[in-house]
């Protein structure tokens, strides 16, 4: 099981509390929104976490003022990423 930190971009306001709580996981972009360090593609929206970051991530989830963060447990291997269907 891997813990996944999900960012709901439609709720996040980019004030950056989470980036302070998870400095090793999240950087801030030009506008203050969190950017997952060292990740690309959809892993920047559903961020796989190391076990060591789980607790801090849980704290960020409960403290995010916009309720934009959530933690999910994912079975290995990673689920298929969502495709843009039309």
């Amino acid at each position: 099981m891997t813990a996944i930190l999900h960012i709901d971009w439609t709720s996040c306001d980019g004030r950056g509390l989470c980036t302070e709580l998870l400095p090793g996981v999240l950087d801030r972009d030009d506008w203050g929104y969190p950017v997952a360090r060292g990740k690309s593609g959809r892993e920047r929206t559903d961020i796989p976490l190391r076990d060591a970051d789980r607790e801090a991530a849980q704290e960020a989830v409960s403290l995010c003022p916009k309720l934009a963060l959530s933690l999910q447990e994912r079975m290995e291997p990673a689920r298929e990423s969502r495709k843009p269907g039309r």
Binding site: D8, T10, D29, Y33, R42, R44, T45, P84, G85, R86
Partner: protein, 418 residues
């Protein structure tokens, strides 16, 4: 290949030529012509074997993602069975083409609505009696309603109007529009196949994909695979456009067709063309030469058809200027819900417009690249990475023009040795 609307014209021999399948019933086909051409299809009788037939056919979505159709259907079927109370799934026929350069779905809906409805009813039956919707722009709705009224078994199919925005066809936007009247994507902690419209397992399927399903349900996977290649079986519709006097045309082409053959069929000489946009505004610019249209294949020799948009750049036009106009449009079409998309896309558009406008600052190209990397993967939908993909293809294909622009002059690409 077949031209929509003039299927009567005798075709000169050509290896890439495709007998019309989807549009075989001819222009504006009514219920009788439809039955005469394709024969009847009993959705309930076809349903039990449908998933196996779809898997064997290798059909992929024709709306852009090219995801295997049978997997999508299976995922929806499985979540419909999960849980204490089995939730009745929903199937939505998606006819929204937000792409300004796409018109194949609207052509299909107007000429072959019955094939689309066949596919919708058959999938719904295969999902154990799912709810059914047709979602399409206003212009196509009268024809859809007429077709639904003119055949049996469609009383419960609901019709919803799609707004004319770029993002209105994104699958979560489709579900959101039907549920709330707001056609913008929603955050997806859970997939639509698990929890979509009113929490039901939901399958959003492009209308051309549904028409292909209707053919496979009738004639089987073997027949489907008689066209196309092993990795890209069957046919697809493409919307082809180019510089005047080239007329917009919808063609049905076999999988794995050469891009240059498609351009020729649409009345263009590929040789003088400098660049072709394939896949639409979330697609890529490529040189017309030596590319095969297929969702999969070696990079460099293959280009993904996406939703089937093929647009040739006027050889006298500046590719950077053309891309800047598209990027400006895409930045404006952001649903402005997600910070990186809302701020990042206009920032990218501004940098590209400065380059197109002749600003001599060599850092601009790398800034554009940096912004693209920054926004990619960071939105509720794939608008950021779709946009970034287009821009990075422009940086690649128009590299000489970028250098020229940043050095203070603009040569249309036609003048540069390709």
């Amino acid at each position: 290949m077949s031209h929509a609307g003039d299927t009567s014209q005798p075709a000169p021999p050509d290896a890439a030529r495709q007998e019309p399948r989807l549009l075989a019933a001819g222009p504006d086909a009514g219920w009788d012509q439809h039955l005469d051409t394709f024969g009847p299809l009993d959705a309930d009788a076809a349903a039990p074997g449908l998933l196996d037939a779809l898997a064997a056919s290798g059909l992929t979505g024709r709306g852009g993602a090219a995801f295997e159709t049978w997997r999508k259907v299976t995922a929806t079927a499985e979540s419909g069975r999960k849980g204490l109370f089995a939730a009745r799934p929903v199937v939505i026929a998606n006819g929204a083409e937000g792409e300004p350069l796409s018109f194949k779905d609207r052509t299909l809906l107007s000429h072959a609505p019955h094939l689309v409805i066949d596919g919708l009813l058959t999938l719904a039956a295969a999902l154990g009696g799912a709810g059914t919707y047709v979602y399409a722009p206003a212009a196509g709705l009268p024809r859809v309603r007429q077709a639904l009224a003119g055949r049996p078994g469609t009383k419960r199919v609901r019709v919803v109007e799609a707004p004319e925005t770029f993002i209105s066809g994104e699958s979560s936007a489709v579900v959101n529009m039907i549920a709330t009247g707001n056609a913008v994507p929603v955050d997806q902690r859970r997939r639509l196949s698990e929890s979509g419209l009113n929490g039901r397992p939901t399958l959003v399927v492009n209308v051309e994909t549904l028409a292909q399903v209707a053919l496979i349900a009738r004639y089987g996977a073997q027949w489907f695979r008689q066209a196309g290649t092993a990795t890209d079986p069957g046919t697809r519709l493409v919307s082809v456009s180019g510089p005047a006097p080239v007329r917009d045309v919808v063609l049905e082409v076999p999988g794995g067709v050469e891009l240059s053959a498609v351009l020729k069929e649409a009345g263009m000489d590929p040789a003088p063309l400098s660049a072709v946009l394939v896949g639409g505004y979330h697609g890529r610019w490529v040189r017309p030469a030596a590319h095969v249209l297929s969702p999969e294949g070696p990079v460099g020799g293959t280009v993904r058809p996406g939703a089937g948009v093929i647009h040739a750049l006027d050889p006298h036009a500046c590719g950077i200027g053309a891309t800047a106009r598209i990027l400006t449009y895409l930045a404006n079409e952001s649903a402005r819900q997600c910070g990186p998309c809302m701020f990042g896309l206009p920032a990218m558009a501004s940098v590209l417009n400065r380059i197109a406008g002749g600003e001599r600052n060599p850092r601009l190209a790398s800034e554009l690249d940096r912004l693209g990397r920054l926004v990619s993967g960071r939105g509720a939908c794939r608008h950021p990475e779709g946009t970034t993909g287009l821009v990075s293809s422009a940086l690649e294909v128009f590299a000489a023009d970028f250098r020229a622009h940043l050095a203070g002059y603009c040569v249309p690409l036609g003048g540069v040795a390709a």
